[in-house]
Symmetry: C2
Subunit: 343 residues, 2 copies
């Protein structure tokens, strides 16, 4: 019997070993210990959960941006308490995740006391999936909504040239009978990471995802990456949501718009230098009733009308398997990571 | 020369006269003076701005629900202050708009002080467009986001039967050089009101909007209304947003889900008995910079890449014309309204 795919030599690694390996890589490439710990856990979590476009696939881009001096791996976030429900952070040109980590305890305290709180991060680089930023709040019984803008690659609806980033929206809510309901969606028709993976694997994309450098529709991921652009999902509605993400992540935080920075000054730069917004709500203040029981009821009803899988379910299943059996990596990838950790 | 359409006999009425006429209609059909004033302005504003699916077209449904005893036109909203950033209202089985009106000053005060505030309305009927609920905040320099669930008519992505409502999301943000940026989008592929208007006018719908009673795709609006259902916009992403609207409007507020009430017990009932959530943010707390200048910059850039029209622009243009020249109604419609006002 022959397989249409070449067999790939694989190995398994535990979540904690992968996290430690990535931590060493970040440390070896110019980040502080604090930043390395946050990014390593974030990136290992994505790989563990099968979010391959935001797992170890991203390491090359992280290190390239660090080497270029485009992002400050040593940045110390400055947290400011500006209201009973408002925290803002200047990430100092570093990564967004350590900035959120620095403000997280204060944000949660404010959400529980005031009922709702907002975190406005600016001067930050977000190069990861967005669901890891919201899921932990739902694990603590809170509802969280986050948006982050990225870099110009999406043509607004009815426009001719790209302006918006892929501008994802992530949402997390607790439920009584299972893992939180979590979604993380690009407002582009496809995530940029998925275009990169398709290009790497030589696959065509479905129609409606993007345009080539001349602005014509294309299914070739390489044509999109080579001077082309993505389209918003769902026509004018997705485009309006992408605009909202620019307003909340950049205009509101004081961060850059997706079109507001020039990476060409730092060859090797890959991470978008923008802003991020997170809203956290204590849902039980809404009516005095238990939110998680109500959301569980919604899940039951969704299953009842035939929706098999809740947003996030695939990640949870992959997570369970990875934690039980280890994370499967190609031997090549693992060797590359090990080399980077001792480089 | 002959026209493919019969000429319709029309008359014009000023915005204030239409508001007063609608106020009298609501008063004559069982609402309190407070409720009549709020609903009349809301409905007249929609007609003024060309939002025909939520203008005088809705009066019949309002009066039918009032006559059925399904909605309480005399309800007095109970406002509770539950945190530095959290206000909740029990609308008492009345309309959502008077409930918001009752809490509005407190909500704005909290947003300005705490930086962000949330209003959770429950036990409420929302039968109007959603943009009138958010635009006024942006007129005062604030950013507003609102969601409201409605009644089961949308099949979740990959499910077999309807569960969600049309579940709109509305957003408003100030800008320095013009009217606020405002959008109001159903998370269904089409708004229910637009299906009703297409059915009334005998038009077919574009593909992908809905299914018939057997669950098969259809372009016939009557087949959708006659036991069929709508689809979410943008596939699984619009479906996830619709789910989020259920969680925020119902689970969080203590209101009914879109599937959580039985209108058949009150023949003539037409208004969805659910909940509504509004988040208001003071955007200048984000970075100390002027948000409205940044949003103006975004608008300039959007125009620069070829987007002709900003969300809300069509309404503002129609508004200007209506205020200058009067609102054009068919003589039949105007006579019908006058008859209802003196009935």
């Amino acid at each position: 019997m022959s397989s249409p795919r070449d067999p790939v030599d694989t190995q398994t690694i535990s979540f904690s070993d992968l996290t430690e390996l990535l931590r060493q890589i970040f440390m070896r490439h110019g980040t502080s210990a604090e930043v390395a710990a946050v990014l390593a856990e974030n990136c290992a979590s994505a790989e563990r959960d099968g979010s391959h476009s935001h797992g170890i696939f991203r390491i090359k881009g992280y290190l390239s941006s660090l080497a270029a001096g485009w992002v400050d791996g040593q940045a110390v976030p400055k947290v400011e308490d500006v209201g009973a429900g408002f925290v803002r952070v200047d990430a100092g040109g570093g990564f967004a995740q350590p900035a959120m980590q620095a403000a997280k305890a204060l944000l949660i305290e404010k959400a529980r006391t005031a009922g709702i709180a907002i975190l406005a991060i600016r001067n930050s680089h977000h190069f990861a999936a967005l669901w890891p930023d919201v899921e932990p709040f739902a694990q603590e019984g809170l509802v969280a909504l986050s948006v982050v803008n990225s870099m110009t690659c999406v043509v607004p609806h009815d426009a001719q040239k790209p302006l918006f980033g892929t501008n994802p929206i992530a949402f997390a809510a607790p439920r009584a009978g299972g893992q939180p309901i979590v979604f993380d969606m690009a407002t582009s028709a496809i995530a940029h990471g998925d275009v990169q993976i398709a290009a790497r694997e030589g696959r065509l994309l479905p129609p409606g995802m993007g345009v080539d450098r001349a602005g014509h529709p294309t299914e070739d991921p390489k044509a999109i990456l080579d001077g082309g652009a993505l389209l918003p999902f769902g026509g004018y509605k997705g485009s309006a949501l992408s605009m909202m993400v620019e307003l909340l992540s950049a205009a509101l935080t004081g961060g850059n718009f997706s079109f507001g920075f020039d990476m060409s000054t730092k060859p090797g730069a890959q991470t978008p230098w923008t802003g991020q917004m997170i809203i956290v709500i204590d849902p039980d203040k809404g009516s005095g009733h238990a939110f998680a029981e109500r959301s569980e009821e919604l899940v039951r009803q969704m299953h009842g009308v035939g929706q098999q899988r809740m947003p996030g379910d695939r990640r949870y299943r992959q997570r369970e398997q990875s934690l039980a059996e280890g994370i499967v990596l190609s031997t090549d990838d693992l060797n590359r990571l090990k080399a980077l950790a001792s480089a």
